[in-house]
Amino acid sequence: MLARIAQELFWLGRDLTRAEHTARMLDGAFHADVAGALADRGVTLSWEGVVAIIGAKPPAPGEKRRAPTDVPPPFDRHEVAALLTIDMATPASIASCIDRARERARTLRDVISTEMWEALNSFFLSLGRYDLQAALITGPYSAYQEVKERCALFWGLVERTMLHDESRSFLEAGGRIEAADMVLRMLRVAVPADLSAAAEGAQPGHEGEAIALLHAVGGVQAYQRAVRYAPALPAVVRFLLYDDGYPGSVAFSLQALRAALHTADAQPRSSPPVLRLGRLIADLELQRRTHEGFDQTLERVQHELELVDHDIDERYFAIAALAAVHL
């Protein structure tokens, strides 16, 4: 398929996933804040943390770069929430992501189903109608709920109405790589440097963090069914990194990403991104057993993922640069 179309699909998946994760993270931060967790319990998944996670991301194609944090500390929750939810001038805000997603979907009208288009279109229109400004002040829960539901609707329609072909693989790949990336960033911000991976039991001062993390990915129930102990930070981090039964974990996302690229690629056996991903997944499996310090693991995995992203760009989308004329 045309490289340009594949790239649009890839980034459509990324934009939507970014919006969804941002909504969940902000929801989690609100929850922790309201529950009084932030001040007392040293939760670093605070407003600063969220800004650091989202603000530091490189821009998507079509996105203009803006200075990462125009909001000076200390971070007021209303300002941050507004910045990352409705501010159209911030490329990473939910509203910007959905705006871009809809624009991309317009180019992709012939590739995605009518229902998928209509879901995105009405998502975009609803953001305009919804008085987010007011909602953010009184209680943003319903706003973020709306975002989560509409994203879920979209992926549900993908599941139901989209042909299992190359286009779908790129859409899926975009969603998965973004999910892995967002969770990694979140973990890097939230996990204290000295946290020992070997510790099993709860550690004082970290309970709030553990719960905040789970909230931020929507994995509270899944964790409880999988682990059955009260959330303890090291265990939660391990869960979010390695558990290949949980769809939001890094390991799961990476495996799904590899599967999508494997389907899309004409020659997966000699494909650099597929091969690199394979090595990364194997490496992750190794880490799971060896209890290496989280810090090094997280940094290495994220770095490798960046290289995978670059490989994908090179392999499928080619260099789409502007032409210039010289005489």
Binding site: L2, R4, R106, T107, Y316, A318, A320, V325, L327
Partner: protein, 517 residues
């Protein structure tokens, strides 16, 4: 017939469906009877449903309003079709094929031996002063010798009933998507009208085009890769570009998707570069290659002309074809038919006058109140001056323009465009002027879709039918000949569902299969 009681055809014009006595013509009798039976309310109701359908499906085109704003409007379709008997179509078909063959030969000649210039028929200085004369392709032969792959010649029926060609369009004629969508809409909105008629289908155009492109593609044994090249979503005809690409089952590409390496054109895919053998391009020559044409064109593909010169890619329509549809060249087309084909033209021209000749110019200026004046380089009905409709001040202004730059204009006799019954509000029918744009595809042969786009000037008395100037369209029906084994189309029959297994409640017959349309 109540709705056509005060139906006044302008003097000197024919009507397509009614004769001089106001009676329905034979081929239109059934249609008009059905319309009468349905009554004006049916038309009004169908009109409302039509707006909804077109907007929803995005069958729109862009129009510039009087305040300069550009808006998407649903393509205006009048619900009363234009009907043509089979015999009449045969004449048009033969005449068009003849004309296109001559135009094609002319383009080839202009870029090679200049025989028609040597024979003293067309002056070289005229050809070389046409803005669309493309020097970069002089000496280059298009694959298969076909230059005018897609033509849309505009025809009108004059007051004496004869068909004349008003204008040739062999650059990037558009409108075929509306022809096809109009037919689909008519079958949904006014299916009753089709009863009792055998209307020839028109939805095979995309496969005609695809076949033609595949035939001329220099693929050398490989499966030819054909693409549709669009300037992008901001182009007013973008709907048609996506429509055709989808119907033909080929990729719709923009300039950034194409790259030329080693004089071969490729498209960028996720599996690397894939060779392109034929391009149906919907942008003007001026923009296609910054190395040979406009250097500031970001819509172009550098090196494309080089690939074309080497014969590795077919481009439809060929580069430089615009030299044949210049309004000043139009004057010579009947001579071209005689010169290249040795035949007499089946379809006539509208008498046209080149204003660069001083004597002709003086005659024209004397008769400015009777004639039509058109700028040679505009399209879409822009800048057209119609003498009998103009005020004294407008005539004065036009005379000045002509004196200042006579080469910019041509003058034509006024054609008394035929009219057709058109819904003008509340289900009432009134005569409005129409023209006809059939679409022809030239691959190994010339094939023409029956009928084409009938454009109608919606304002009373107006002769300007272009959509950008507020014109509308009608579905065009060419009736199948008796005994012809053409498929009937548009016949409305209720469908019966097949029998469900294990459902024993009876009542389902299940064996009859419904006819495919």
């Amino acid at each position: 017939m109540p709705e056509v009681d005060d139906y006044h055809v302008p003097p000197g014009c024919c009507d397509e469906l009614l004769d001089a006595g106001g009676e329905p013509r034979e081929h239109a009798a059934s249609l008009l009877a059905t319309l009468q039976r349905l009554g004006p309310d049916a038309l009004v109701a169908a009109g409302e449903r039509r707006e909804d359908i077109f907007m929803q499906q995005g069958i729109t085109f862009e129009v510039t309003a009087s305040d300069g704003a550009r808006r998407d409007r649903p393509f205006p379709l009048d619900l009363v079709p234009r009907v043509m008997p089979a015999g009449e179509w045969t004449t048009i078909k033969r005449g068009l094929a003849q004309r296109i063959r001559a135009l094609n030969a002319f383009v080839d000649d202009v870029y090679h031996a200049h025989e028609i210039v040597r024979a003293g028929i067309v002056p070289w200085s005229l050809i070389v002063s046409r803005p669309s004369f493309a020097r970069p392709v002089h000496g280059v032969r298009a694959p298969g010798g076909v230059y005018c792959h897609v033509s849309g010649c505009d025809l009108v029926r004059d007051g004496d009933g004869s068909w004349r060609v008003l204008e040739d369009n062999v650059r990037t004629p558009s409108g075929i998507s509306y022809v096809i969508e109009n037919r689909v809409a008519m079958t949904r909105l006014m299916p009753e009208l089709f009863a009792g008629h055998r209307v020839r289908p028109i939805d095979h155009y995309p496969s005609l085009l695809l076949d033609a492109l595949r035939v001329v593609a220099p693929a050398g044994g490989e499966d030819p890769n054909v693409v549709v090249w669009t300037p992008g979503p901001l182009n007013p005809a973008y709907f048609e570009h996506t429509f055709l690409a989808r119907q033909m089952g080929v990729e719709l590409v923009e300039a950034t998707d194409l790259v030329v390496r080693d004089a071969i054109c490729f498209m960028r895919t996720t599996a690397g570069l894939q060779r392109v053998h034929a391009i149906y391009r919907r942008l003007d020559d001026d923009f296609i290659d910054p190395l040979e044409f406009r250097p500031d064109s970001l819509l172009g593909v550098p090196g494309l002309v080089r690939a074309y010169r080497e014969g590795t890619v077919a481009i439809a329509n060929a580069i430089g074809t615009g030299v044949a549809d210049d309004k000043a060249i139009y004057h010579y087309v009947p001579e071209m038919i005689r010169f290249y084909l040795g035949e007499e033209p089946i379809l006539g021209n509208v008498p046209t006058y080149l204003l660069t000749n001083e004597r002709t110019r003086r005659e024209v200026l004397k008769r400015l109140d009777e004639l039509v004046v058109k700028p040679t380089s505009e399209s879409g009905g822009k800048g057209v001056f119609i003498g009998p409709h103009a005020s004294a001040a407008e005539r004065e202004h036009q005379a000045q323009l002509i004196e200042a730059d006579p080469a910019r204009f041509i003058a034509q006799e006024l054609v008394h465009l035929s009219t057709a019954p058109t819904e003008v509000g509340e289900g009432k029918l009134a005569p409005r002027h129409v023209d006809l744009r059939p679409f022809a595809v030239f691959g190994d042969e010339i094939r023409i879709v029956p009928g084409g786009l009938t454009r109608v000037a919606l304002r009373e008395g107006s002769l300007i039918v272009n959509s950008s100037q507020g014109g509308g369209s009608k579905d065009t029906w060419v009736l199948a000949e008796d005994g012809a084994d053409e498929l009937a189309s548009g016949t409305y029959r209720p469908r019966r569902p097949p029998r469900l297994p294990d459902v024993r409640y009876g009542g389902w017959s299940g064996q009859e299969q419904q006819q495919q349309q």
